[in-house]
């Protein structure tokens, strides 16, 4: 059981009045300890929805099929007791909107200590206090900041507090959903620095979700690119970002120009059209309507995720074709 | 379609008048709101009750002759219990309570609506201006609102009614002038939040002055609030009218539910057990107030998307 997280053939369908809406379709994903895997894609591609299944946080109207194995146990079928234990200490999440989820009238130190006390009621106040100081230092804040109220902190500091809270019960897996989207470049760099340091230092696994492929390329070991609820490409991050196989991954990576690259000067690269509506997916490859390399065959069948040596996979019938 | 490619696209002729289409579009959105409203059971109940009363008020001359209101034309005995001739009995003057009730609906509803219009206009205007314009003008209006808010309603209404004299118009005025501060505060707080929205800044960037920002952006966005609040204010105004009439401050020449209750009280209908003189007007007031409240709640749910689906 080497894998920390193993997702097999996971699909998630929202049931609505207008019929079933497939948000995630047949996704496989593996994550090891000490590894950072990034999920990239536009809004609405299903990346956050996929992540929600890891802690069974999907809304009750959703139907999930497949297997989500956390340390070998299926999250989708496990008992409530197990699930609670998993949510306490197994895996924790850092959300993008989390900056506003701090209680404005409680000192941040007390908020970090709360899950520690709840998880282990035996913990004395002194122990908890020490642990909070330790956590704050891990995320690069002085231990004295525990006495601050949220409004006294900047956005970057609040995000660090959120990370400290996520670490409080020593999880084995951290799911970070757009953890730096609202932050400035420099603060983003600070937070990413903290996150990658933690993963390597504590040996936890991290799943990071972002629309910004360049951030993922910088931080992650592997990247999974999603489109229309499916994985369209995955592989080592430098390769996915630098030499993408799937035209969508290629477009996504070209959207973030390399400063100094003469090809990008006065030539911003974008992708026409809008992401597909999950309630009305086009036939065949969902990317076909926007694809610059589309041919007739693309709309016939949903392309398989094929292997291209090493750890690389892509689902495009044109890869490897002239 | 890529934005960068080709051009020659300037001057595309529009086939249909945009304003016409916009009107159609608004009708659609109204119908959509109506469909949501229709699903709200208590709102629909309120609407039905209200429709019945509105019909009674409008059709009063057809339902009961206005001669039945004249004391000199009274045909029945004093405080007769309900009978086949007088379905709800008679009052102390021998008039049919049913006739009084039907004609009273007119006055009660009229006073309720007219006072609400006055209160809404004053409240919306003052709330809007005090919220939108900072500085001393806003501050003064805000203080004024608070000042009116803390004045107890009844003593002020009694004083005003005494000073102005007892007439239907004065009753409307008194209720209108005393019930606006709540609306003004509500509109003010809404205005304050809308004022900070980015689209107000955009309007300014486009070259809009204060008046345009207020009338085109703030007002349309507070209007749903105003509407939902209106129905509640009507209910309060009808109660106020009943209260004032019951206290003998109403228009002595007209019959309203409040004045009926006042009469009933004066002649000791409670002690003599003439329940038919007290219960019907009381029930009518409760029903109309309830109807408006139910409609108000339903409207708020329709117009405030955050409450939807609760």
């Amino acid at each position: 059981m080497s894998d920390l997280l193993r997702m097999r053939d996971v699909s998630l369908t929202y049931r609505s009045e207008g019929g079933d809406v497939p948000a995630v379709r047949n996704v496989d994903l593996d994550l090891d300890r000490g590894e950072i895997v990034g999920i990239a894609g536009e809004s609405g591609c299903g990346k956050s929805t996929l992540a929600s299944t890891i802690l069974r946080l999907q809304p009750p109207t959703a139907r999930v099929t497949g297997e989500v194995l956390f340390e070998g146990q299926d999250v989708l079928t496990m008992s409530w007791g197990h699930l609670r234990a998993l949510r306490w200490a197994g895996a924790s999440m850092v959300f993008q909107g989390a900056l506003h989820s701090l209680n404005p009238v409680q000192r941040v130190g007390d908020q970090i200590a709360e899950p520690i006390h709840l998880h282990d009621p035996e913990t004395s106040d002194k122990q908890a206090h020490l642990r909070v100081g330790e956590l704050l230092e891990q995320v690069g804040l002085p231990a004295a900041r525990a006495r601050a109220y949220p409004h006294q902190l900047s956005g970057g500091q609040k995000q660090r507090i959120m990370i400290a809270m996520a670490l409080a019960c020593r999880p084995r897996l951290i799911v970070a959903d757009e953890p730096t989207t609202a932050l400035d470049v420099m603060v983003q760099a600070q937070v990413l620095h903290v996150l990658s340091g933690l993963v390597h230092e504590l040996g936890v696994g991290m799943l990071m979700i972002s629309h910004d492929l360049s951030v993922l390329a910088d931080l992650c070991d592997r990247i999974v690119v999603m489109y229309g609820g499916r994985v369209v490409e995955q592989g080592p991050s430098k390769l996915v970002f630098g030499e993408a196989l799937h035209p969508y991954a290629e477009a996504l990576s070209a959207a973030f120009p390399r400063v100094g690259d003469p090809a990008a000067r006065y030539a911003p690269s974008g992708l026409p059209g809008d992401p597909p509506d999950p309630a009305a997916l086009p036939p065949g490859c969902s990317f076909a309507p926007r694809c610059p390399r589309v041919i007739d065959d693309c709309t016939r069948a949903v392309p398989e995720l094929r292997s291209f040596g090493g750890d690389r996979q892509a689902s495009c019938i044109r890869v490897g074709q002239p | 379609m890529s934005a960068v490619e080709g051009d020659g696209s300037t001057g595309v002729p529009a086939t249909l008048s945009a304003r016409q289409l916009a009107r159609r579009r608004r009708r659609e959105s109204f119908l959509r709101s109506w469909r949501i409203f229709r699903r709200n059971r208590s709102g629909m109940l309120g609407l039905v009750i209200l429709a019945v009363f509105a019909f009674i008020a409008l059709a009063a001359p057809l339902l009961a002759s206005s001669q039945g209101l004249e004391v000199t034309q009274a045909t029945g005995g004093v405080l007769e219990p309900p009978s086949s001739q007088y379905w709800l009995g008679t009052d102390d003057q021998g008039r049919s309570v049913l006739t009084l009730l039907i004609w009273g609906a007119r006055i009660s509803l009229f006073v309720g609506l007219a006072a609400t219009v006055i209160s809404m206009v004053i409240g919306t205007l003052i709330g809007l201006i005090s919220g939108f314009s900072g500085g001393w003008a806003g501050a003064v209006l805000f203080r004024l609102t608070e000042w009116f808010l803390v004045i107890p309603f009844l003593p002020l209404a009694i004083v005003l009614a005494t000073v102005l004299g007892r007439s239907l118009f004065n009753i409307v005025l008194v209720i209108g002038v005393t019930s606006w501060p709540g609306t003004a505060l509500l509109i003010r707080s809404q205005t304050l939040s809308i004022k900070e929205r980015a689209y107000i800044e955009r309007a300014r960037v486009l070259g809009a002055g204060r008046w345009h920002q207020m009338s085109r952006h703030v007002l349309p966005n507070v209007m749903p609030m105003v509407f939902a609040n209106t129905t509640l204010t009507v209910a309060i105004a009808i109660l106020a009218e009943t209260t004032l009439s019951f206290l003998g401050l109403g228009d002595p020449t007209r019959v309203s539910w409040g004045s009926m209750l006042d009469d009933a009280f004066q002649v000791g209908a409670i002690t003599t057990g003439a329940w038919w003189f007290i219960v019907p007007p009381g029930v009518c007031v409760v029903l109309v107030v309830l109807a408006f409240t139910l409609i108000g709640q339903a409207l708020e749910e329709v117009l405030n998307p955050r409450l939807k689906g609760r």
């Binding site: 983003q188 910004d212 390399r258 400063v259 690259d261 911003p268 809008d274 | 379609m1």
Partner: protein
């Protein structure tokens, strides 16, 4: 159209904070945007870049210095501001919030035209509907008629941004200020919107001032770039020079943390921009400056100046490359590159 259009001349802007302190959001900013050029104003949040944009449009009033349009200082009467805003338009950050949720696309785009009565005095005699359609088409919303009656919540993020741009273009401005035009958009839409800005520059000769924290964006579209820190422009010049040979340690640090630049060792500055009620003495960047921290400023003997001697305000020179840094000045006086610090 040639010559300078909109310029900030030594502009300072102050705010009074809630606690009653005076915050100097801008402290002597010189900047020019000419017709047909794209200028990027870059910095972290708190650097004052949005305040510059707002001041240039007359939304903030400078306490010192002035904003001039076509050589003439701005007037702050309602009439003069309206006239300015017909010729200089701004596309606000956050396309989701900048459209009135109760207005249709048509009404939003037509709003500015109606405010200025443009349909009545169109030289080509077009109707309002035709003008709205034309503005929407040039913002890349095609076919416009199909979108006329949509409400903002029925549009995608990219479409909303285009509606905002169309609303600005409907006035036929000479200059467009875009505040973080793509930061809230998906990656794939980003390039499309930037390409639109470039197209507008090429086809309409529009001058564009882009306010952004994204250096990649500047590399994509800007002719010139001005880097701001704590209310001052600290480095300005042609994009190629500033981004490929940055002189100021702050620009160097910003550039090094752009995720895709692998050759550069990331210089992650600690802390954040200080609050403008307490601007540090000397060079305002010195408390976070990596050159001061690692001793290279001391080695070159400028550390004392860094801590005590204020720097001069950079001029709004549209050609040269200027840096407000004691160390860069010293190195340029000995090295090949010309700085401008006295």
């Amino acid at each position: 159209m040639t010559g300078r259009l909109l310029e900030a001349r030594n502009v300072s802007v102050e705010f009074v904070t809630r606690s009653g302190h005076v915050a100097r959001a801008l402290d002597g900013v010189n900047l020019q945007v000419g017709a047909g050029e794209v200028v990027a104003l870059v910095g972290e949040s708190g650097s004052g870049k949005t305040t510059v944009a707002r001041t240039m449009l007359g939304l903030e009033r400078p306490v010192a210095g002035e904003v001039a349009f076509d050589g003439e200082p701005l007037g702050y009467s309602g009439r003069r501001l309206r006239e300015l805003r017909r010729r200089v338009q701004m596309v606000l950050q956050d396309p989701a919030g900048a459209l009135n949720p109760r207005q249709t696309v048509y009404e939003s785009v037509a709003e500015g035209m109606r405010l200025h009565g443009l349909a009545a005095k169109d030289p080509a005699g077009r109707t309002e509907t035709e003008m709205v359609a034309a503005a929407m088409a040039s913002a890349g919303l095609r076919p416009p008629e199909r979108l006329f009656l949509r409400y903002p919540h029925e549009l995608s993020g990219g479409q909303r941004q285009r509606v905002l741009i169309a609303g600005a273009l409907a006035l036929g401005p000479e200059l467009l200020i875009a505040d973080e035009p793509v930061s809230s958009l998906d990656a794939s839409i980003r390039g499309e919107i930037l390409a639109l800005l470039l197209k507008l520059r090429d086809e309409l000769g529009l001058g564009v001032l882009v306010v952004t924290h994204d250096l990649g964006l500047a590399w994509n579209i800007a002719d010139r770039i001005a880097v701001m820190y704590l209310g001052r422009v600290v480095e300005a010049g042609p994009t190629e020079e500033v981004l490929q040979a940055p002189q100021h340690p702050y620009t160097q640090a910003l550039l090094s943390v752009v995720p895709e630049i692998e050759e550069l060792r990331p210089v992650v500055l600690t802390g954040e921009i200080p609050d403008p009620t307490r601007i540090p003495g000397g060079c305002r960047f010195h408390p976070r400056c990596p050159a001061v921290a690692d001793g290279s400023a001391a080695a070159d003997g400028v550390e004392r100046s860094c801590r005590t001697q204020p720097l001069e305000v950079l001029p709004a020179d549209p050609q040269g490359h200027h840096t407000a840094c004691h160390l860069a000045a010293l190195r340029s006086s000995t090295g090949p590159r010309t700085g401008s610090i006295v």
